[in-house]
């Protein structure tokens, strides 16, 4: 019987079996950041052991960094201490660090791919649940806790139970104005926030194939939001073209050899999945969320669902959001727009936003924050003139970091106010205590910024 893409990569990284269920999996690349690594390094120190394979480990500072004046010392004391601790640990243990001020610094899931560190067929871990992003290149990439960060630093391996396999097919053509972000928000709304738990997802079908690498990363990024361990897409010419010429990608003849090897990474026709779903691209509208988990999403033309009888969780969620069952979301007044995060802060996202915004101004009552995913994205946005377009529209163009996606630094949304956000989570308080998050695509976020309320971007595109 044939093998799935997932099984091919997994089996190739299997070091040993422990009992019936648990396996030792070898890790090719380990990304670390300031928030989930200090306790792991402290563990190594306590045991008096080194980082086993420092050359397979890369660090950056992203979660807890300011997105203004990054050339100055970090003002907030605890944040500064945490970022300094990362620098100290990387020096002590010989790990490459792209810290603040470095031209490669940025959100860990943006810099890995853009530097060519992420390559097909690899196993990749990071102490961050959105590590699934790297699956867009045909990798097994997943988030781990700090104990497993320590395991990986110490042995370049993690202990894992092999997940089940799921395939999600999206076929057909997207409507104009509908993007990769809408595809994944739609899938999660159909499968719920726990629909993928225990599974590793492969995304397939003509609508997925047609996506750019940026779009594929957005899809794989949010796999965790339906509970899946990770998501992946078989590599193809789009993948190879993206990797070619990047800093740490194989060069010349080595690249050709690598492409030959990478071309074998696909699911065999007769392979089977534990779970399979089919969706049609034509059915997908621009999506938004109305509740407090990413499964609570609807098309922009739809109304907020009525509270199912006796469902306290759902009722609490609408109450928190200040919304009522049956109400339309279109026309909802919005005060904040956040364009950024590991889901949507890449150059293609900023291009889409700038193309819509060009020559327009934001609505007076809206604060718009644009946080590029990396120093490289920032530099490119400036070189392409995107920065000027966005600034002229009244958008606040900032420096790279995770920013208001999780509100660890000072970039927060005030209590009770609505924020249309291109990030990945609309949990209570995620963007600041009491903040009300509505997840959407960069294009929908751009339109919200201009009109000051939720609009159906499909109705506006022909006006451009």
């Amino acid at each position: 019987m044939g093998k799935t893409l997932f099984d091919k990569i997994w089996d190739n990284h299997l070091v040993s079996q422990v009992g019936e269920d648990t396996q030792v999996l070898y890790i090719d690349r380990h990304f670390i950041h300031e928030v989930t690594s200090p306790q792991a390094f402290a563990g190594l120190e306590k045991r008096g052991i080194p980082v086993f394979r420092p050359q397979q480990t890369v660090a950056t500072a992203d979660h807890n960094v300011p997105t203004k004046d990054q050339h100055l010392p970090i003002r907030e004391e605890l944040s500064r201490f945490q970022v300094d601790k990362l620098t100290e640990n990387c020096e002590k243990f010989g790990v490459e660090l792209y810290g603040l001020g470095h031209p490669y610094q940025g959100i860990v899931h943006v810099i890995g791919p853009e530097l060519g560190i992420t390559q097909p067929g690899m196993t990749i871990v990071c102490g961050d649940s959105h590590t699934s992003t790297h699956g867009a290149f045909g990798c097994i990439a997943f988030g781990i806790g700090t104990s497993q960060v320590e395991q990986t630093l110490a042995t370049q391996c993690v202990l894992q139970r092999k997940p089940k396999r799921m395939r999600i097919n999206v076929d057909g053509e997207l409507q104009p104005g509908v993007t990769a972000k809408d595809i994944i928000l739609y899938i999660i709304s159909q499968l719920t926030a726990s629909g993928g738990t225990g599974h590793f997802v492969e995304y397939a079908g003509s609508a997925i194939r047609a996506l750019s690498m940026e779009g594929r990363m957005t899809i794989c990024n949010m796999s965790i939001e339906m509970g899946a361990r990770g998501g992946m897409i078989a590599p193809d010419d789009t993948t190879f073209e993206y990797i070619k010429g990047r800093e740490f990608a194989p060069k010349g003849a080595d690249f050709d050899t690598a492409v030959e090897r990478w071309s074998l990474l696909y699911t065999d026709e007769d392979a089977t999945f534990d779970q399979e779903y089919h969706f049609l691209a034509e059915d997908i509208e621009p999506m938004i969320t109305y509740g407090t988990n990413p499964g609570m999403g609807i098309g922009i033309s739809q109304a907020v669902p009525e509270v199912p009888a006796g469902n306290v969780t759902f009722e609490n969620s609408l109450k928190y959001m200040g919304l009522q069952g049956g109400q339309a979301m279109k026309g909802q007044k919005i005060n904040h727009v956040f364009i950024g995060s590991c889901t949507n802060s890449r150059i293609e996202d900023l291009r889409a936003v700038a193309a819509f915004v060009k020559g327009r101004k934001k609505a007076d009552h809206v604060n718009v924050m644009v946080v590029p995913g990396s120093k490289q994205v920032e530099a490119q946005a400036k070189a392409e003139g995107l920065h000027d377009i966005l600034t002229a529209a009244g958008f606040d163009f900032r420096e790279p970091g995770c920013s208001a996606c999780l509100g660890m630094n000072e970039d927060k949304v005030p209590a009770g106010e609505y924020c249309v956000s291109t990030s990945n989570r609309n949990f209570e308080g995620r963007q600041g205590p009491g903040a009300r998050t509505i997840l959407a695509s960069p294009l929908m976020a751009a339109a919200t910024a201009i009109y000051g309320e939720l609009v159906d971007v499909r109705e506006l595109l022909n006006q451009n």
Binding site: Y26, Q82, T197, G407, F427
Partner: protein, 199 residues
């Protein structure tokens, strides 16, 4: 990691579904560089007002309930991979979380810190909530060796699943890292084989 002993305790009910790790410990409290002290901010925004005064209607602020077992609705621990969520629950004093469904990463993080995730059926979870509703001090017994959860008042019990290897680790207070370090020769052999295959 401390050894997991048989638990005999009252329980704290949290009949909410989809409790994500941002609720368990909000990101703004993840700035510490040690594993201690996160219990103070466990369920911070449900537990305290913005001015840090306790919200009287939240269960952790209700003196009627206590114990080392937390009982919560389905899909507990979804969202971020932050192990701080498991640390916060443990630091607060919980030793087991009972739910009808756990998010994968949280389950793994809990097991790596001596916090036992006990998954029971939706119906049994309902029975546990009912038992606590009838008597907030109702006690429960969690026998890891036998993989059995019992409602003491009624004697009603259910089995629960746990990976054999993780069970061994919990019962003996062993970390994964001890194990991985003990098979380092195997890891090096794997690396050499891969390198040879690539040439």
């Amino acid at each position: 990691m401390e050894k997991f002993q048989t638990l005999h305790s009252s329980a704290v009910p949290l009949p909410i579904e989809e409790v994500d790790t941002d609720q368990i410990i909000p990101a703004r409290f993840l700035k510490a560089t040690t594993r201690k002290g996160f219990g103070d901010n466990l369920f911070r925004d449900w537990r305290y007002q913005n001015d840090d005064t306790p919200k009287p209607d939240f269960v952790l602020n209700n003196p009627a309930y206590d114990g080392t077992i937390l009982v919560a609705g389905r899909n507990f621990g979804c969202g971020s991979s932050r192990e701080h969520a498991a640390w916060a629950l443990y630091d607060y004093g919980f030793r087991a979380v009972v739910s009808s469904f756990f998010a994968d990463i949280f389950r793994g993080n809990a097991l790596n810190n001596g916090l036992l995730p006990v998954q029971v059926s939706e119906a049994f979870l309902h029975d546990i909530f009912s038992a606590i509703e009838q008597d907030p001090q109702a006690t429960f017994t969690i026998d890891l060796e036998q993989q059995k959860f019992t409602i003491d008042a009624t004697g009603q019990s259910t089995g629960f699943e746990i990976d054999a290897y993780k069970k061994h680790c919990l019962l003996n207070g062993q970390d994964d890292i001890d194990f991985l370090l003990s098979i380092k020769d195997k890891i090096e052999t794997y690396e050499q084989q891969r390198q040879a295959a690539a040439v």
